[in-house]
């Protein structure tokens, strides 16, 4: 019983982190309809920048994070401006966007490997320790993951209460109608890249706190967050977040019933069944932003 409780709690925390990754990916995917695999490159870049500023250069942690957030946001926006926008203006097919995105991620992974080495970098300024809640043990990193919901709540407020947020929702729903009402589509795309990319920094720190930084970290996080967005459905960021939370719990608890090596397979089995049975996502229209 203690094992199950521990795994549930761990799944809840890891699922919360996945939820933040899913929201950051979903903000861009839902609005622009680009399967933005290069988001993985932005995720890693933000993490490595914090590592350089805080661990190597000795900046205070808060300052390192404060610098990395606008950096990640601008990097995401730069990808839209210099890669996707030219493709859109030439009416390139979806596959061209996808291949460009994969290409950016691949080049970035190689660059990170050359600059920082292919191994694992530990974030020593984030101490990893056990925290006991009765018989259940979790880590400091796990507890930090619960803060993901604060960021997600802020995103929801932004989407509901600000002009740019309302534009993003409108473009995500029906871009043609949004355009006909005078909404600047390309400006809205930039907003979605800025916001989605900025969110990667806190999410990546939660990830690297526990698992360290590696050049491939961006890919592994983008796989799970994109799967969550598809499973949840493209109707809103909350659908992806709830799906990601479910995947985190399922992945953790699955080890009780399945061999350890099946953890990743569980996520993609769920994805397969959802695509086959509910191609518009498990939540349908239940979570419209």
């Amino acid at each position: 019983m203690t094992i199950l409780l521990t795994l549930l709690l761990l799944g809840l925390t890891v699922g919360s982190m996945y939820a933040l990754f899913a929201v950051s990916f979903g903000l861009i995917y839902n609005v622009t309809h680009i399967f933005h695999f290069a988001h993985g490159a932005v995720i890693s870049a933000g993490g490595y920048l914090v590592y350089v500023l805080v661990q190597l250069l000795g900046w205070p942690v808060w300052l390192g994070i404060a610098a990395a957030i606008p950096f990640a946001a601008l990097l995401g926006a730069a990808i839209e401006l210099f890669f996707y926008r030219p493709l859109r203006r030439r009416n390139a097919p979806h596959v061209a966007f996808f291949l460009t995105s994969v290409g950016i991620l691949t080049v970035a992974e190689g660059l990170f490997g050359v600059i920082f080495g292919p191994g694992v970098l530990s974030l020593k300024f984030l101490p990893l320790a056990a925290i006991h809640i009765g018989d259940v043990s979790v880590t400091t990193a796990n507890l930090s993951m619960l803060s993901a919901w604060v960021f997600i709540a802020l995103v929801v407020v932004f989407l509901l209460a600000t002009r740019s947020g309302r534009f993003m929702r409108a473009v995500a729903d029906t871009p043609e109608v949004a355009k006909s009402t005078g909404i600047d589509l390309e400006g809205t795309y930039i907003w979605s890249f800025l916001l989605g990319s900025a969110l990667t920094v806190p999410a990546m720190l939660m990830y690297a706190w526990y698992q360290g930084l590696t050049p491939a970290a961006g890919l592994s996080t983008i796989l799970i967050s994109s799967a969550a967005v598809i499973i949840g459905g493209r109707t809103g960021v909350l659908a992806g977040a709830i799906a990601a939370l479910g995947l985190g719990i399922l992945q953790a608890v699955a080890i009780v019933f399945l061999p350890s090596g099946w953890q990743d397979a569980v996520v993609f089995s769920v994805l397969f069944f959802v695509i086959a049975l509910r191609p518009n996502g498990v939540f349908g229209l239940a979570f419209r932003w």
């Binding site: 292919p118 530990s122 400091t140 698992q211 090596g261």
Partner: protein
């Protein structure tokens, strides 16, 4: 006119190919002996790949700076196998079919097992300097400069049992290395009277061991036996301690990544591997250890030492082949030389390493413990006479 040149060139190439079947490198400039090396240069085991490469490069520099071996300058083609069996098959096929090398250094159990049939089919001599599985023994064209599964894991089981461990949990990588070494430890530990209370595995690329460690913690073992490579060792011990796994942690072939990534969590870890003796009086071993320390400011571990030894062994095989009038670019000729002289210098602790009839090797191994962020040798196990 332009079109008619093409068949002419093709015909010339064909004739040239028939007249000179040897690689182009043999006909122009100084003689270069090209051989292959398959190391993990990306992925979670990349840190250990860098160590392999240090040993390889130092040995090549040694040989070439002394004028080469019988007029041959050594050159390596290093291919990344990413730590996976599939990567090993791709790397071996490249080395055999594109680079056409007669000799290949291999690392990692799964990689060596995948590469061996390709080596045998193409008469390429394969020297394993990393993989430890018992299943690597007795394979044609594959020889091992490494302590294998049984002798590597028995001292770990004995050490654990002597330190009052009666129950053990296993956490091993999902590859041939993890599986076979796990079996070797289990056999040795249960033979002593110990009991395995949990056995979990993880995919090679994973960096999150939470679920496995949670199950292991619940089984409350006296000792946790892990099989992982490179930085993964460090991540594993770090997460184990953070999840309050209190058992002593042991495992084969500890590397630098255990300490650099694991930090304080690595304290107390006990690992087994090839013995390194910084106080050796053997002149050749002393010279290597001193040169390595001068270059990298650290004593080499086994992962830099075995490629170094293997390249020097290759140089001696080239010498023997040339001396007997053979062509060293033939894998069969190198194999013949190896069978005639299956002995090479032990550069890590002095003396010689003898290759056995099962293609394994006999050499001393050591148990090391992490103390204050450094490896400290706690026991040296000499091979049976």
């Amino acid at each position: 006119m332009r079109l008619s040149v093409i068949p002419l060139i093709a015909a010339f190439a064909l004739v040239a190919g028939n007249v000179h079947p040897l690689p182009l490198q043999a006909q122009t400039g100084p003689k270069t002996f090209t051989f292959g090396a398959m190391f993990p240069l990306s992925g979670p085991a990349a840190e250990i790949g860098e160590e392999f490469k240090r040993g390889l490069d130092m040995a090549i520099d040694d040989v070439n700076s002394k004028g080469g071996i019988d007029g041959w300058q050594l050159k390596s083609v290093v291919v990344d196998h990413k730590g996976t069996a599939l990567g090993g098959a791709q790397a071996m096929n490249q080395l055999v079919n594109l680079d056409k090398v007669p000799f290949v250094l291999t690392t990692f159990t799964g990689v060596a097992l995948t590469a061996q049939p390709i080596a045998a089919q193409n008469s390429v001599l394969l020297m394993n300097v990393g993989g430890t599985s018992n299943n690597l023994l007795g394979k044609p064209w594959l020889y091992n400069d490494q302590v294998m599964g049984d002798p590597l894991n028995q001292p770990l089981a004995q050490y654990s049992y002597d330190n009052r461990a009666r129950t053990a949990a296993l956490l091993t990588s999902e590859d041939a290395y993890g599986k076979d070494d796990g079996i070797a430890f289990t056999t040795a530990f249960t033979k002593l009277g110990g009991k395995i209370v949990a056995s979990e595995t993880f995919p090679l690329t994973t960096t999150d061991f939470t679920a496995q460690l949670t199950k292991i913690r619940a089984s409350n073992p006296d000792v946790l036996y892990i099989v992982a490579v490179g930085d993964t060792q460090g991540l594993l011990v770090k997460q184990a301690r953070a999840l309050d796994v209190k058992a002593n942690i042991v495992g084969p072939l500890p590397t630098t990544g255990l300490i650099t990534v694991g930090g304080r969590a690595a304290e107390g870890f006990v690992g087994s591997g090839i013995a390194v003796d910084p106080t050796t009086k053997d002149p050749a071993a002393k010279a290597f250890l001193a040169a390595f320390k001068a270059k990298y400011n650290t004593v080499p571990e086994w992962d830099a030492g075995t490629p170094y030894e293997a390249v020097h062994f290759l140089a001696s095989l080239i010498h023997e082949t040339v001396r007997s009038g053979g062509d060293p670019r033939s894998g069969a000729a190198l194999l013949k030389a190896l069978e005639a002289h299956p002995v090479f210098q032990n550069y890590l602790s002095g003396g010689q390493v003898h290759l056995l009839s099962d293609h394994g090797s006999v050499r001393a191994l050591q148990l090391q413990q992490v103390k204050d962020g450094k490896y400290v040798t706690i026991k040296v196990v000499q091979p049976p006479k």
